[in-house]
Structures are given as C-alpha cells and as structure tokens.
C-alpha cells in the first residue's frame, strides 16, 4: 500500500466535494479496492469512505412498491432487510463471498466496480433497476458498459439502487471453485410486462441480457421454451476454470434452473 489521505464524510455533498480532489477515489466496503491497494496496483491520493453517510444506507420500500437500497448498504444488510420485500435479491446478496465479505462489501461498490464475475450486476440488470447517483438516474441497461466499465463519471457516487419488484425472480449461481465468484450466474426476473434474463461471469463484455431467452420465455414461460437456444461461445470467457463453450452451456443450464425456480 502507498500512503494516501483518508476522509470519511457524513453527507453525500461532503463526499462529492472530497472526490473532486485530484486522484481521489471513493471507498465502499473495500473488498476489491483494499486488496488492490495492498498489492500496490493503485495509488489514489485520497480515499473517500462513504461508509459514514447515513443517507446512503438501508433498504426501504418506496410508495410505488419498488425497493431502494442505499449505495453503502452491506450485502449482509440486504440479505436480511430485503428478505421480505425482494427475496430473490436478498438471496443473491446472501450468496456473495463469505460472512466477512458480506459484512464489509456494499451494493454501490460492487455495482460501480462491475467485476465481470460479480453477482450484483446480474441482479441489477436482471431486475431492470435504476442506479441513482448524486447527479442523475441511470437505467441498468445503460449503466453496465463492459468489464469493469460503467456509465459513472469521475467523482460520481452511487447513492442508491432502486429495484422494481418482479412477480417472481431467481438467481442461479454456479461457483468458480477457487474464488467462489460466479463462474456463471443467471438472474431471471418475471414481471407483468415481460421476463428479463441477465448473466454474469460468462462474457468478456461483462454482465449481459440474454434476449433470445427473454423472447422465448415471454411467449411461453417454461423450460421447454429454452430448448434449442444457445449462447454463442465466441465472446465468452475461457480460462483455467472453464472454457468458453462450458460457460456458454452453463448460461443455458442456469437459466433453465431459474425458470424452474420461478415456476
């Protein structure tokens, strides 16, 4: 780790001001950033922790029925506090990492980082959630722009994520054996106006929607609707833990299991 200054503001406005400094970086739960700093792979001048900002924490149900989760809310809090309002999302949060990770890591940190194997991007994209920042609201479909890349501007903070609650949803995660990130994870949400299917872990472009499966399931919501549908392995990740073809196959299997879980 290199030396850096540390700030822990208590309001969003103060955090935004602190992040205006040169090479300042926001710190959520630090589950990615702190190991990166320890390896001396990043050298921010100032770390601005958002963990002291009360208005960025907690789970609440809005008047329109959507579930809003503060950007600095830990996975463990989502797992516990969204269990009744959005159980599939709470279950996703409860499967991230281990208890230590879940009690430090935050939804805002995970979504902003957009690790191609992280769970939350699948939940956010699969739900068609809205990312709320200090300056604007961004639809999930516009937010994730490829591996470790998002629509966030320099200094922009995710203050909350707002989820419309589907009729049924399920996250099916197949573990990468070492990291226990998703080798492939599929989040399927069934709304009155259609089905959304988002896959993480699989693609070199990061989280993506499987539109062919969505169309097929919109016509007929049962596993047979998926028969004959295949993901093109070309853009899938191939590594030590699984070939491109294997990941493409797992997207199908996990999607099928998500349909079963929602049926």
């Amino acid at each position: 780790m290199y030396n850096f200054d540390f700030e822990k503001p208590s309001t969003i406005a103060d955090a935004v001001a602190a992040l205006a400094g040169e090479d300042a970086q926001a710190l959520g739960g630090g589950q990615t950033l702190i190991p990166t700093l320890k390896q001396r792979l990043a050298a921010p001048s100032t770390l601005v922790s958002v963990s002291g900002i009360a208005e960025m924490k907690g789970v609440c149900v809005e008047d329109d029925g959507s579930v809003a989760i503060g950007g600095a809310t830990t996975h463990a809090d989502v797992a516990a506090d969204a269990a009744s309002s959005y159980p599939a999302l709470a279950a996703l949060a409860g499967q991230i990492g281990d208890p230590a990770v879940r009690n430090r890591g935050t939804i805002g940190g995970s979504v902003a980082n957009n690790d191609p194997a992280a769970c939350y991007p699948a939940g956010v994209l699969g739900s068609g959630a809205t990312i709320v920042t200090n300056t604007r609201q961004i639809a999930a479909d516009d937010f994730f722009q490829g591996m470790f890349t998002t629509a966030l501007e320099e200094g922009e903070i995710i203050t909350s994520v707002r989820f419309p609650v589907p009729q049924a949803a399920s996250y099916q995660k197949f573990l990468q054996p070492a990291s226990r990130f998703a080798l492939v994870g599929v989040y399927l949400a069934r709304f009155a106006d259609g089905v959304r299917v988002a896959a993480t872990g699989a693609s070199e472009d990061g989280v993506f929607r499987w539109s062919e499966a969505e169309e097929a399931l919109n016509k007929e919501f049962r596993t047979d609707a998926l028969l004959g549908l295949h993901i093109n392995p070309m853009n899938m990740i191939g590594d030590l833990h699984g070939s491109k073809e294997y990941r493409a196959h797992l997207v199908s299997v996990m999607t099928k299991r998500a349909v079963e879980a929602c049926s």
Binding site: F174, P177, A178, D239, L240, H241, G242, Y246, V253
Partner: protein, 786 residues
C-alpha cells in the same frame, strides 16, 4: 474398552488450548528489538538474463539499511540439495548452483533478484521499486517432454541439457520386460498427469535472524519442520558458520505439509544480513510470495502399462514418468520422483516384473519438492488408476481384481527394492467393505439416479514407506544425511519429565501423544510429562518431522531413552528398598520388590536421584538419558479407501457423498489424533483430485497465483468421513509397533475420487477412460461431451 490415558487413549490435544485461544507463539509473533525488515525484489519474468542491476537510487531512499544483490553472495555457498541421485548409467545427477539471490539469470517467476533491508516493510518495498533491473527475456522452458529434446533452451547454461537425471528402478533388462508384455493376455495403458500443487500452509514462511557482535552468535527463528537440518545445511553448505555459534528455533509452526522441510534462501539471507547489517532482520512471506517461492508438490506426467495373464494375474508393470523439479534443486527434490516414488510401484500387489523409468526435468517454474506423501501419492495414483482401468476393460470387479493380486505372505521382497515386513491387505479390505457399506451401494445409486444424478463408487488400495529411514540404506541411495532421530528424557527431582525430541510438531499432536507413551511406560499421569521441541539449543540433534516418521523413529528413541531412565531408577529403587535390582518391578508409578509389599513411589526415587543422600555409590546422581534411534527398515502403513460421488450430468459438478478409509497403521497411541491426521490427509487428497491446480501459462506466468484462482478445499467441499483403523498388523521392527499415519489420507484418496467419478460417468453410458486432476466441473463436463 477405550482407555482413558496412556497408549491407546484418545487424550485431548493439549496444544490446542493455546492454538485455539490465540496464545500460540509463531515465528511472526517474534519481534527482536531493533529489527529491520526485508523485502525481496522477485522476478516477474520466468526466464531471462540479467544485464544490469542498479541499486543506487534505492540505497539513498529513506530508512534503507542496505540493498543486496547476487553480487553480495559471490563466494557464498548456494542452496544445497540433500540427496544425490545416480542415473541409470551410474553418473551423478546434474546439480546446478542455486544462489541465494539470482546471479546472471532469473529462472522462474518469483526468483529473488535483490533484497532491501529497511527500517520498515513499507520503506523496503518503496526502495525495491527504485531498483532498476534490465532483463533480456529468454524463452521459458515449461513443457517437460519438449525440455528433454536436443536443442531445447537450457534452464541452466552450464548443464548439458535440462535432464537432471534419467533414472531407472526394477527390471533392467528391457527385452525381459518386452517379453512379459508380449506374452500378456491383456495390457492396459494409461497416460496421466499428477497435477502440480501448492501446499499453502495457513502460516506463511517467516524468518527472523539476529547476530551478536559480543559473542559472535546467531539465532534464526524460522518456520521449519526440522531446525537441526536447517542449521546443518545453512552452516555447513551455505554460509560456512560453526554450528555451535548458531541457534535455530522453529517455534509454533502453522502447518508444514513438507514445504517447510527445506532450507530456503530467505533463511540464509536473513542470517547473513543480520551480521552484514549488524541488526536483526525479519522477513514474513506474503501469500502472493508463498505461491511463487514455497516449493511446490507433485507435477509428474506418466505413461503406465499393466500386463495381465489370462487369469487376470498381474505379470508386469512398466512406467515412464517425467518429473518436474522446477528451476533449481530444492533440498530433497531429487529423492521424491525416485526413491520415494519408484520403490512404491509394487503397491499392495505381487507383480513379479516391474520397471520404473523417471526423467527429472529442469523447467522455468518454482522448485518442486516433497508435499504430503511425496512420491508415494504419485506412485499410488498411477497404479490404482491403471488397475481400475484394467478392471473396466476386462469387465471384472475392481475389488476382486485387487484381492486376487494382493501380497499375502510377509516379509515380502518387492521387485523395486523394498521389504514389506507385515500387512494384511485382505483383512483391511474386509474392514473397508463393511465400514463403507459397499453392499448398499446399488440402492444408493438408484436413489441418486432418481434425483437426476449419476453416482459412482471408487475403491483403491495404497501402501507407503514411512518412518524414513535406515541411515545405511538411504546413504547407499544417495542421501547426504542420516535419518535417525533422538530424544532426551530429563526427569526432574519431583518426578515430572521433560522430553526433548528431535521431531517437530506442527499439527501432528506430539505434545499430547508423546507424553502418553512415556507416562504409560512409567505409570504416571500424562500431565507430568512435557515435550520440548523446535530449538537446537534445547534438543538433541534430530532430523525433524516428515514422511510420517515422528512416532516410528523419534518415538522409538524416546522409548529407548525412557527404558534407560527406568533401568537407572530401578537401581536407585533397589538401593532404597534394600533389594536386588532384578527383583524390582515398576507398575503404576510404584517400584516394588516382587513378591513383597515393599514399594517406593516414582517421586521418591526421582527425588533421591537429585538429593542423593542415601544413594548407591556406583550410580551417578541425576536421572536423564538420551537415545538415538536409527530404524532397521521403513514402516509400511497400508489401507483401502472407498469414495462415492454424485455427478451432475448437466454441469459436470462432482460432489463427494461418502468417503471411507480403512487403514492399517499398526499400533495406535492416540486414536483421535490418528483420525484427525487421516481426515486432514483425505481433505488434501480430495483437494488434489477435484480442486487444486497450480498452472502456468506458455510464458511461465503463474496463472493460479492467489486463492482467487488456486482452489483450496473448504469444509463444504468435503463429506463426513468414516475412518476405520481396527486392522492392525504391528510394525515388526520398532518398539511401539507403530507405522505412521500422517500422509496416508493424501496418498490413498486421489485415486478413489477419480475412480468414483469415472464409475459414475460410465454408469451413465458414457465411456470415459480418464480425466486428469483436478476434475473440475468444466473438465468433467467436457469429458462427458467429447
């Protein structure tokens, strides 16, 4: 009836109290006043020529004490290899130098190029970044078979090729072996890989060294399984220091698994630097450094052929193995693919003709050395896999095929240089069949299939040679050390006992099990006996703990020393009781005169030894005895394991549903500790079979360089185990009749898991002969769909 104390009792591990309450004293807990910190600048290139190192900027950085490079170690010895293997033509192995810091070339990612000693670790790291190193990159030598070709890039420019040795054991006459295979009714051939592993003990390596100008004495605290071995190697071969001026301490050590046997460059560096800087010097490995500097394990590529006659008797076995030694020879690396591997190729079977061929290769990878089992898992895996394949090809029951070929007469001279003293392989297999409820397997398979899963059963046997070793034999085979051990039994005046042992406990439970033996022999409470280990200034010269040798070898020394103590105590008791020494009996801590009610307590005799007012003149005061023990033979633990798996046909995911181990460890001192040793070994074996894979890319970059990509087994990867060690044929040549249990689980379990997965796939109608470890979901699924 289970005993509640002494030999055979499941006494609770007394050391766990401090380990579980955070009161352990590990090397990193040791801080010496005024210490400086080392950071090693390690190569991020697998193979290259160092054209320039400029440390001048680093030397001027804040807090820097001194910067070292390979130049500082010219004229200093390199890291030694403790075993000289002779090749098939009688020539010694090629033995390249292994400098403390790289000289001329870097040969693997992680090879240390320079070291910065500074006031803090952060300052040392800052300065290391200011060192300029120019390296002319060379092609990385990785594939062992390609490395053996003429004209291959050389890892060591001064060697004639990349082959450390081309070795052979067993039948020398190729024509005879060819004839056996030509006459066979059936030949089964199998190509397989024994995957490279990283031991990953929970505690990374640490070295803290201090030097006293006043006394010219050094102390090295280090994470070692064998402090005397480290002192000898470092003093005699590396730094040229007198042993009596060097104290090596291995305090609590958080797991070794073999990888803490070896003398590492970092230990020698810290000792050297402590004097050069006139300051204590401390190095603590990061986990990332551990992946690229701890010796790795396994990494064999083998073709094995089994010949059978028309009645399915094994008639011949031939193996061709390429063994990866990495970039340099680690301390015992040369012995692992040879004398710890080839000698085990007979397994539990009376195969009359066996030929083992091993080429050991230098590559641009981290050095490979002993890891839990060391050579024996590699042997067992090949043999038990080829037998299983033969059974499938022949359509015979794999257990029946094994039983038919078991060795049943002992002692048995194998065609590969060992003499098994005792065993009962059918009896152990009987125990397995009962404990694993093999007769209920069909019903369990039907249940799994009803749930959409494939279920497989894998069974295998193993034998290992432990209690290493008779010094005269290993000396003939090339060992540059003796392999005895030593114990001093020091009885205190009030009757309590300190036992100074050469073995080192780093998870094995010696502090509990060893006192059980001494207390049982005397008839006193276990709490009166304490083990002292891990400090060359306190213990007799012992060879440490590895190869499941502690109780069989050091325990034997301890028994001998205790016998000497008892003999002397009887003389004192005879004097006190005014009786003949021959009439004195010791039972339950009381010396009595046979046939009378006259007795004197243990404590009265020990007090008399140190307060010798009323004392036999011909007997020296005091009660302390030392014994060295050099075993007459190896010990031969053996067993049979059964694994049941479910395979998810949609994903290739394997789950272990049931695992049963039946082991014959001879006599057992503490059954609970033995269970624990077997559990841990099986965990590591399952890790190898399903999860662990140390992989390099084509440039020699380590792909599995952290726990993000190197999959360690976790609790939920493992089932509850059934462990049965009621099959007991005591070792015939050591006083306790014990064989050793530390490695069995890791040796016996990988083939059981692989055999089970293949059984599952074949039961689903997919003919799959083999899948290399680790059998990740991806590999299993690919095999099912190829």
């Amino acid at each position: 009836m289970p005993k509640d104390s002494g030999i055979g009792a499941s006494s609770k591990r007394r050391e766990d109290v401090r380990f579980l309450t955070g009161a352990g004293n590990y090397t990193d807990d040791i801080n010496v006043h005024g210490q400086a910190y080392v950071h090693f600048l390690r190569s991020d290139i697998a193979h290259g020529r160092i054209t320039n190192i400029d440390t001048s900027a680093a030397e001027g950085m804040p807090g820097v004490v001194k910067v070292f490079t390979g130049k500082d170690f010219e004229g200093v010895g390199g890291m030694p290899c403790g075993w000289e293997v002779t090749d098939r033509h009688g020539a010694p192995m090629q033995e390249p130098p292994h400098p403390i810091l790289a000289q001329g070339k870097v040969r693997h990612v992680g090879d240390p190029i320079a070291a910065v000693v500074a006031d803090s670790l952060a300052l040392a790291r800052d300065a290391a970044e200011a060192i300029e190193v120019d390296i002319e990159e060379l092609p990385a030598v990785l594939d062992m078979k390609a490395a053996a070709q003429d004209g291959a890039t050389l890892v060591h420019d001064d060697l004639k090729n990349n082959i450390c040795y081309d070795w052979h054991l067993g039948e020398e006459d190729n024509d005879k072996v060819n004839e056996v295979f030509a006459n066979a009714a059936h030949v089964t051939t199998l190509d397989l890989v024994n995957n490279r592993l990283v031991a990953n003990p929970m505690e990374p390596r640490v070295a803290v060294a201090e030097y006293s100008r006043g006394t010219d004495e050094y102390t090295l605290y280090t994470t070692s399984q064998n402090p005397h071995v480290i002192r000898l190697l470092m003093c005699a071969f590396v730094l040229g220091l007198p042993e009596h001026k060097v104290r090596v301490v291995a305090p609590d050590v958080g797991g070794g698994f073999g990888t803490k046997i070896f003398h590492y460059a970092e230990e020698a560096f810290c000792t050297f630097a402590a004097k050069a800087c006139n300051r204590p010097v401390k190095w603590t490995s990061s986990r990332s450094e551990a992946f690229m500097s701890d010796a790795h394990g396994r990494d064999h590529v083998t073709t094995i052929e089994l010949a059978l006659d028309a009645e399915n008797n094994f008639t011949g076995l031939r193996t061709n193995t390429h063994a990866n030694l990495g970039a340099y020879l680690s301390t015992f690396s040369s012995s692992v693919p040879t004398w710890l591997h080839g000698t085990l190729m007979a397994g539990n079977y009376k195969t009359p003709v066996i030929q083992v061929n091993v080429r050991a290769m230098f590559t641009n990878t981290v050095p490979v050395d002993a890891y839990r089992g060391a050579g024996r898992p590699e042997a067992t895996f090949q043999l038990e896999r080829v037998i299983d394949k033969a059974a499938r090809e022949l359509g015979v029951d794999p257990i029946a095929l094994r039983r038919q070929n078991f060795i049943t007469q002992f002692p048995y001279d194998t065609p590969v240089a060992l003499t098994y003293d005792t065993g009962d392989y059918n009896g152990t297999m009987d125990k397995l069949e009962a404990a694993a409820d093999l007769s209920g397997f069909a019903a369990r398979r039907a249940q799994s299939e009803a749930n959409g899963k494939l279920r497989g059963l894998g069974v295998n046997c193993y034998i290992e040679a432990c209690g290493i070793a008779p010094s005269n034999i290993v000396g003939m085979l090339g060992a540059r050390a003796g392999l005895y051990d030593a114990a001093t039994v020091r009885v205190n005046a009030t009757g309590s006992i300190s036992v100074m042992v050469g073995a080192h406990s780093h998870g094995q439970g010696h502090e509990t099990a060893f006192p059980q033996v001494v207390a049982d022999m005397i008839g006193i409470d276990e709490s009166m006996v304490e083990i002292v280990h891990g400090d060359t200034s306190k213990i007799p010269f012992g060879m440490g703990t590895y190869g499941s040798r502690s109780l069989a070898v050091c325990g034997s020394a301890m028994v001998k020393a205790t016998e000497k103590v008892i003999d002397k105590a009887k003389k004192i008791a005879a004097h006190l009781l005014e009786a003949s020494e021959a009439d004195i009996e010791l039972k339950d801590g009381q010396f009595s005169v046979a046939g009378t009610d006259k007795s004197v307590a243990w404590g009265d005799v020990t007090l008399t030894a140190y307060v010798p007012h009323n004392y036999p003149l011909e007997v020296e005061p005091g009660l302390e005895e030392t014994a060295f023990y050099d075993p007459a033979n190896f010990t031969f633990p053996a067993g049979a394991y059964a694994c049941e798996v479910e395979v998810d046909p949609e994903t290739g995911q394997v789950s272990i549903e049931k695992f049963t181990a039946a082991d014959d460890f001879g006599n057992i001192v503490n059954p609970m500790i033995v269970d624990g040793q077997v559990h841990g070994g099986i965990g590591q074996g399952i890790g190898q079979a399903l999860l662990e894979n140390c992989a390099y890319d084509e440039n020699g970059q380590l792909l599995s360089a952290s726990f993000m990509d190197y999959a360690m087994p976790r609790a939920d990867d493992l089932p509850f185990y059934e462990v049965d060690h009621s099959s007991q044929t005591p070792c015939t040549h050591n006083p306790l009749g014990v064989k050793g249990c530390g490695e069995a689980g890791a040796i016996g379990s990988p083939p059981a898991v692989v055999n089970a997965v293949l059984d599952a796939l074949n039961s689903g109608g997919k003919a799959v002969d083999h899948i290399d470890m680790p059998m990740s979901p991806s590999r299993v699924w690919t095999a099912m769909h190829s």
